[in-house]
């Protein structure tokens, strides 16, 4: 059976008939799609358009209302979200399990710091101060590392791939720690890149505080990267990723070039990780090599699993939750008197926080495998199918 669908009589229409009608949307009929463009549109319903607009508006307004410390935390969440989107493209969409995300984040962070660093300072620096330049450069350099690693992925699957990428983290940590001229060495670290946008140093308080300005910068970057991620996911590449994830042999039979798409997946994912890394320590101003250890990789995986596998908005939700976790656990002593806020007592909030990662991952995998996005999906389906259940 051939897949070609014959369209009788429709082919000759364009020739003698006047200009054919442009596809239009009919009011009040959200599912009456008159062209593929409408159906595949990024925001294909009015509700989605308004919803996204409202969320962005609220996010842009937040810096004017929140305290600076909470704002810094949320800002970190936004940056982490960029990395989580990248990892989700790799794990969620393309199905390639990777524990090496921390390595690419590290590459991004050092690229940015080196590029933006003071040429006359203690550590390596080239004095490229404009943030957009070093953000993109950090992404590109990380992506190049992704290209180098990708050939391994085309030969390995599942657990083996996970172990190999795990090795990447250790190799990375060794290099970061030993190349002291660049990183400052373990326990000491170096200053992170200073964000300068069009000549304005965002770390200097002016009409707005540093945290406010950084939050807005992070928000802009996240919106751009999320849009990029969403578009990759719903395009030809995203569909190829999904095919590889669901069954690589079947995908190969269908004509999806496995090697090529695994390479693309690692490259894109690393690019996102690089961008994330370039901004991750901008708020704190200082970072050291041991931060790019296995824990960071696990945190990213937690964001993906808790947020929702193979969803962009889920990645953002997961990243924000993980970023806010320390803050949430620090509130615990008020409710649970036996939890101490002092690191010397046991159990203390830091131990609880680590335990919470694990507990959250286990709980989500058991009870809500689709993550936070799954919860949202459930709510949406409940009202979408109202007053029926299906």
């Amino acid at each position: 059976m051939t897949a070609t669908q014959h369209e009788p009589g429709r082919t000759g229409r364009g020739s003698d008939a006047p200009a054919s009608t442009k596809p239009r949307r009919r009011w009040g009929r959200p599912t009456l799609y008159t062209s593929y463009g409408q159906e595949m549109a990024l925001l294909n319903t009015r509700a989605k358009q308004l919803g996204v607009l409202a969320i962005i508006a609220v996010a842009a307004y937040l810096p004017l209302t929140l305290e600076d410390d909470l704002l810094a935390l949320l800002g970190t969440g936004l940056v982490l979200a960029v990395g989580a989107i990248g990892l989700n493209l790799l794990i969620g969409y393309a199905g390639q399990v990777s524990l090496g995300h921390a390595f690419f984040v590290g590459v991004g962070a050092y690229t940015a710091a080196v590029l933006a660093g003071d040429p006359d300072g203690r550590y390596l620096g080239f004095g490229v101060s404009e943030a957009p330049v070093w953000i993109v450069a950090a992404g590109v350099v990380a992506a190049l590392f992704g290209v180098v690693v990708a050939p391994l992925a085309t030969r390995l699957r599942g657990l083996y791939l996970a172990v190999v990428t795990l090795g990447l983290v250790f190799i990375g940590q060794y290099f970061f720690a030993e190349w002291r001229e660049m990183s400052g060495g373990p326990g000491i670290g170096r200053e992170s890149a200073v964000p300068v946008v069009l000549g304005n140093d965002l770390t200097r308080d002016g009409a707005y505080t540093e945290e406010q300005k950084l939050f807005w910068l992070f928000l802009v970057v996240l919106v751009i990267m999320a849009l990029l991620g969403r578009n990759i996911a719903r395009s030809r590449i995203g569909r190829a990723f999904a095919a590889v994830r669901d069954r690589d042999i079947a995908a190969g039979v269908m004509g999806v070039e496995l090697g090529r798409y695994k390479l693309i997946a690692f490259t894109i994912s690393s690019f996102f990780a690089g961008v994330c890394g370039s901004l991750l320590y901008v708020g704190s101003g200082q970072f050291s090599p041991e931060q790019f250890g296995l824990l960071l990789s696990v945190q990213f995986i937690a964001m993906v699993l808790i947020g929702g596998v193979a969803t962009i908005s889920g990645s953002i939700m997961g990243a924000l939750l993980i970023a806010l976790l320390p803050r949430l656990s620090s509130e615990l002593p008020a409710f649970l008197p036996f939890v101490s806020s002092s690191p010397t007592d046991h159990p203390n909030v830091f131990e609880v926080e680590v335990g919470l990662y694990g507990a959250l991952i286990v709980a989500f995998l058991l009870f809500e495998p689709r993550g936070l996005f799954g919860i949202w999906l459930r709510i949406r389906t409940y009202w979408k199918s109202f007053p029926f259940s299906y």
């Binding site: 051939t2 669908q5 014959h6 369209e7 009788p8 009589g9 429709r10 082919t11 000759g12 229409r13 003698d16 008939a17 006047p18 200009a19 054919s20 009608t21 596809p23 239009r24 009919r26 009040g28 009929r29 599912t31 009456l32 799609y33 008159t34 062209s35 593929y36 159906e39 199918s385 109202f386 007053p387 029926f388 259940s389 299906y390």
Partner: protein, 625 residues
């Protein structure tokens, strides 16, 4: 809008459906004429494109040597090509003959040979095989046009076959060589010319071809679109309809092809009869005509979905449906007019429930809904009135171009088919109570059947409909039954079986009901269960079953239906009560000759097929409980 055709009419001749399409293409070329779903997307066809294809197709018919008065037959599911070939045929002065896609080969042979069709459109391989099987019995048939290519191209070696693209190519060549040839034919059309043969489905005997003329259609359109417009504002280019009933049936033809040409409504073709529910929710039509079967199915689906919803939704749904039932009863008393109280209740309900409910059923935007073509239980209509669908029962038949009576907004009387339309005379025969109609849309006669024509139209021009009716309140007509279906029991009582059957069919679990008892001591029934709902019911009770026959044979199912029969019996007089019933072991089917193409039960055929079940009910002494 439709005035464009009538004002220019004197200079170019008779207004036909073809000139209406042409004039609309000239006045509003980019407006949407129809949509059809292709690979998941609703492709739009503008009026200009529609007319362009019609013109090319008409030229192709000329190239194939179609003369005025020749017959062109179409056996095809609803799709743009049906309308395009139909209008093209009318444009060249030929006569369209529609066949049901479900017509088996034997019926195809009869219809093609009886009509003397010279060009036949067979949609796909299935329809083509039917024609080729019986082509020796159709001496007049010269060419067969096919629309779908799959399974046909390269596999059939027959000079008479012509694919749709080839037909268009033929038309383009002829159009270039003879510009204006089609227009000349259109200008020559006379009001009295026949434009279509509509074969009646024939519950008894072979189908008869009713000849409808341009004047018939013109009167019909004038009545329902211009004069007695049942919606305000009148139906126009902003209205959407869903086309899914067979186009060869006069009701769908009227509502799709002629209405589209006359009022400019946008036709949306459903993918198939099985996807009507899904297509309804996509299209959300503003004008919706359905046969009772569809309304019954919608009602059953809604009830089942509410019953199987989560507890909170279920309670919520039941609460509002109970309110709707009260509203429906109120509207029944007031003829469809809200009181202040009911309007307020409905307003609150609309926000909290009915709006979402109607969206899910695809009826949210419906501003005029009608039911006709077969008898319907008032309960079904009341339900839809209650939830806010402006529901109207209408009455008409092939022989009067579907123009007779209709319930009007604000003057609805449930259980009746409404008041006579403007310009239509309706009266009851003094002796038999038969409904007689007389107006300019009464057909010209049966094709090649003078005798049947004489029996149907009397000397004064009255059409004998064959339906028995009575006046309710002096204004509204109630149809009792088909004359030949009236059961006279051994006790001499006249009983109308369809009323009892419709009460039974109002239950979501009953799909078919056939009441028997002509010349017998008491009435009994053959009942067919609705597979969807009963299997759902059985599953929720953990009742295992394999096939339809197995399910119908379950004692639990028998008990379920017995409960429904008991409820119905309570509402009937003693002579009308069913003393016994049997469940049909199979679904009734057109192919097996138990249903007509319009899904009406052929009583005689059913009674004959299930003779054994019937005799059981009368043989067993304990049958009469």
């Amino acid at each position: 809008m439709s005035g464009a055709g009538t004002t220019t009419a004197p200079t170019v001749g008779t207004t036909t459906v073809a000139t209406r399409v042409r004039d609309r293409a000239a006045s509003d070329p980019t407006a949407v004429a129809m949509r059809h779903k292709d690979l998941g997307v609703w492709k739009e066809i503008s009026w200009a494109e529609y007319w362009d294809t019609v013109l090319t197709t008409a030229h192709a018919l000329l190239a194939l040597g179609v003369e005025s008065g020749d017959r062109v037959s179409i056996q095809c599911e609803n799709r743009p090509e049906w309308l395009e070939l139909d209008i093209a045929t009318v444009a060249v002065g030929a006569i369209t003959v529609g066949l049901y896609p479900t017509n088996p080969a034997a019926e195809v042979a009869y219809l093609l040979s009886h009509s003397g069709s010279c060009i036949h459109l067979a949609e796909d391989q299935e329809q083509l095989d039917k024609v080729l099987e019986v082509i020796d019995q159709c001496p007049d048939l010269r060419r067969i046009i096919t629309v779908e290519r799959r399974g046909i191209e390269g596999r059939y070696d027959d000079d008479r076959l012509l694919g749709w693209p080839a037909l268009q190519q033929l038309g383009r060549e002829h159009r270039a060589a003879h510009p204006g040839a089609v227009e000349a034919r259109m200008a020559a059309a006379q009001p009295d010319d026949v434009l279509t043969l509509v074969y009646t489905s024939g519950t008894t005997g072979p189908p008869k071809g009713a000849m409808l003329t341009h004047a018939n259609i013109a009167f019909g359109l004038k009545t329902v679109v211009e004069e007695a417009s049942f919606v305000d504002p009148p139906a126009g280019p902003d209205d959407l309809t869903l086309s899914y009933l067979p186009l060869c049936h006069v009701a769908e033809r009227f509502f799709t092809t002629w209405y589209n040409a006359g009022a400019g409504t946008q036709v949306n073709f459903a993918e198939s009869i099985d996807t009507v529910a899904a297509n309804l929710t996509e299209v959300q039509p503003t004008l919706f005509f359905a046969v009772p079967r569809i309304w019954e199915k919608q009602l059953a689906t809604a009830r089942i979905k509410i019953d199987s919803a989560t507890p909170v939704k279920r309670a919520w749904g039941r609460f509002w449906l109970a309110r709707a039932e009260r509203t429906g009863e109120l509207l029944e008393r007031t003829g469809g007019n809200h009181t202040l109280g009911s309007r307020l209740t409905y307003l609150v309900g609309w926000v909290l429930f009915y709006r979402a409910f109607l969206v899910r059923l695809g009826l949210r935007r419906v501003r005029y809904a009608s039911c006709g073509a077969a008898p319907v239980a008032p309960d079904v209509l009341r339900f839809f009135m209650g939830v806010g669908v402006p529901m109207h029962e209408v009455y008409g038949m092939t022989e009067n171009s579907a123009i007779a009576t209709a319930n009007r907004p604000g003057r609805v009387r449930l259980g009746t088919v409404g008041e006579p339309l403007e310009g239509a005379e309706v009266r009851l025969d003094d002796g038999t109570g038969e409904v007689l109609t007389r107006h300019p849309a009464v057909f010209k006669g049966y094709w090649r059947d003078e005798e049947a024509t004489a029996r149907t139209i009397d000397a004064d021009g009255w059409l004998h409909t064959g339906d028995v009716g009575e006046w309710v309140g002096g204004t509204h007509l109630r149809i009792t039954d088909r004359m030949k279906d009236i059961i006279i029991t051994a006790g001499g009582k006249n009983v109308s079986p369809s009323e009892i059957e419709n009460l039974l069919k109002a239950s979501p679990y009953v799909k078919e009901a056939v009441v028997v008892g002509d010349g017998r001591k008491y009435l009994t029934g053959l009942i067919g269960i609705e597979l969807d709902t009963v299997s759902d019911w059985a599953q929720r009770r953990g009742l295992a079953f394999t096939t339809y026959a197995d399910l119908a044979a379950k004692p639990e199912v028998h008990e379920l239906v017995a409960g429904i029969v008991k409820q119905v019996n309570e509402r009937l007089a003693t002579v009308e009560q069913l003393k016994d019933f049997r469940l049909l072991p199979k679904e009734l089917d057109h192919e097996d000759g138990e249903l007509t193409a319009t899904q009406k039960v052929k009583r005689a055929a059913v009674a004959a097929t299930f003779e054994e079940l019937v005799s059981q009910m009368y043989a067993v002494p304990g049958g009469a409980r």
